[in-house]
Symmetry: C2
Subunit: 359 residues, 2 copies
């Protein structure tokens, strides 16, 4: 282990001293070779390296040194075979890998990597055939568990029933309430957005969002309306459903302006929509946030920072969702399965588009 650290350093800082880098591993050494070098039996070597059995400290050390010298790394296949565990999980993204999957993936990979578990990545691309193919592949590889993710939060049918390994859904959820799902709390997010606008004194608040058939759009819209009415307010305009794009945001700005509704804030269903709205409003002479304050959703860096002014937005903490899903999966693998949907709160990231004092 010490040597390991030093090796890294050698590679990193001083090219030229290649003595003990990983480069010395050119054909995997077996534990028998290590044992032979240390003058013990393979079984003993195994115990020495895994801290099991009753061994003299000196023997243990000798084996460890031999292992290091040979650059020994235990053959995972052999170990899995005998342990019945692979320290491996599969991650299936049902839609394609994209903007939403990545933070999930990073979070999951983070939590799993810390537990010495590797991740098989599978991209099912919205194709049920591919999905089942990957499921089968993963099961053949004896993964210890599976994380299922997707780009929509809507509940989906379970990927399989009676599977031999635990499954956790991240971001999307399973329609089976007995399955374990970790999702963002979108209602809470919408509530925070509206409350923030209320807190800075806005009262004529509109909502522009994605397609009405999109689960996230309706959930967020409902929560927004509820929050408004809890404050004794009506929305400043009907909810505008459209698509998740800047173009729609621009178009929606036109609609809002043309209806003559006196709007002093818009909560947008996505940062892209908010950005489009911001542009169009300002082209029409409205000042953001003085005349109209804006809150987006997703906290997507390139959108919130690229927009002028920078966008206040709701961060769903996707990385946290990925991490939590991974942790729940590990727990399930260790025999402590959890059931049901768990909704993680997001947080509001305030920026200039709702700054009370815009200077």
């Amino acid at each position: 282990m010490r040597a390991c650290q030093e090796e890294v350093t050698v590679w990193l800082l001083e090219p030229g001293n290649g003595e003990e880098t990983l480069g010395t591993i050119d054909r995997a050494a077996t534990i028998s070779e290590v044992a032979a070098l240390a003058g013990v039996s393979p079984g003993t070597a195994s115990k020495a390296l895994n801290g099991r059995g009753a061994l003299r400290p000196e023997t243990r050390r000798r084996v460890q040194e031999a292992a290091e010298q040979l650059g020994f790394v235990a053959n995972a296949a052999a170990r899995s075979l005998q342990a019945g565990r692979t320290y491996t999980v599969g991650m299936i993204t049902t839609d394609s890998i994209g903007r939403f999957s990545i933070p999930l993936l990073i979070g999951a990979e983070d939590a799993l990597g810390a537990g010495q578990v590797s991740v098989f990545l599978c991209d099912a691309r919205d194709d049920p055939i591919r999905e089942q193919y990957y499921l089968r592949t993963l099961l053949g590889r004896q993964v210890d568990g599976i994380i299922v993710t997707g780009r929509r939060t809507q509940a989906r049918p379970p990927i399989g029933v009676g599977l031999p390994v635990p499954v956790v859904y991240a971001f999307i959820s399973s329609t089976d309430p007995d399955d374990c799902s970790v999702v963002p709390d979108e209602q809470d997010g919408a509530r925070r957005a509206v409350e923030h606008l209320l807190a800075i004194g806005r009262r004529r608040i509109a909502h522009v969002t994605g397609p009405e058939h999109h689960h996230s759009a309706t959930v967020r819209a409902d929560a927004a309306l509820r929050t408004l009415s809890a404050a004794g307010l009506e929305p400043a305009a009907n909810v505008l459903f459209g698509e998740w794009s800047e173009a729609w945001g621009r178009q929606a700005a036109g609609i809002l302006l043309s209806t003559g509704a006196e709007v002093d804030a818009v909560f947008c269903g996505s940062d892209q929509i908010a950005r489009g709205l911001a542009e169009a409003l300002q082209e029409a002479g409205r000042v953001v946030p003085r005349d109209v304050a804006l809150v987006g959703f997703d906290n997507w860096d390139v959108m919130v920072d690229g927009s002028r002014p920078a966008l206040t937005s709701i961060d769903m903490d996707l990385e946290g969702i990925g991490r939590t899903a991974a942790e729940l999966l590990l727990a399930a693998i260790n025999g402590n399965p959890e059931h049901g949907r768990r909704a993680l709160p997001g947080r509001l990231i305030p920026r200039a588009s709702t700054a009370v004092n815009p200077f």
Copy 2:
């Protein structure tokens, strides 16, 4: 059991025919169980399922049926152990997984998945320690090969020397010319951009790009200048190095306008820069593309489509790079290693920002 099967099928394909779905796998069957059910020995069953050995067709069929009935999927660990191959490759992204890694990943996963090879994903996050940790992990898992990617195209020191498995670098390249690298041909991309601007009749062309210490920035800038001078032209202004952001694009627009240089086109080092430039130019009263044509780089959908007008851009075909890298890796695994850098050409995607007739 039956009920389970039907549920899966109902969801998946054809309600009613639940015979052979994955639902039946609830505790992995071994080949011995299959063999017993088919009334043969395990060895024979193996031959039957893998199309090897000399077996009566009828026997083969019997075994296959037994396998299906039990939902048999060969234990990959056992198979790897004996074959010495795992049909698994590792993919290490040296910087974080991000906008550039994803298409690479998708491309690679595509090519590998088709070959029944699974991918271990590792995110080294620009941390050499993590990198070496993952390398070690992958080697312990006996991956058949490794793909190394990153978010910068600059050459990097090899991830290891004398490794027991082949390595292919994708997007980034290795400083060791003997290693196999697949990279975008950025010079070619820059050339295409400038030639496109020349083709639509622009002669006073400027170049705004990222940091001077960034490899991509200098490579593209050099190629752009060479292309101009090959056409007998000088750049309309000194190359403006800055950062890869919209903010810099806006700032650069100010610089170009204030120097009074008569610029009729700008080739930008990234779509973000181009977008910032487009905004600022138009706020200053210039019309894109009539007064100033713009070409970006990366063909990043949200930027090229979100910008107004939509941006002409250079697409580096990252997915193709990922796919090619994976194919080369598979070839190397099969004993046909390739060496050296292979630069893949990109293509120019024309959009409104360079439309000859902007209506």
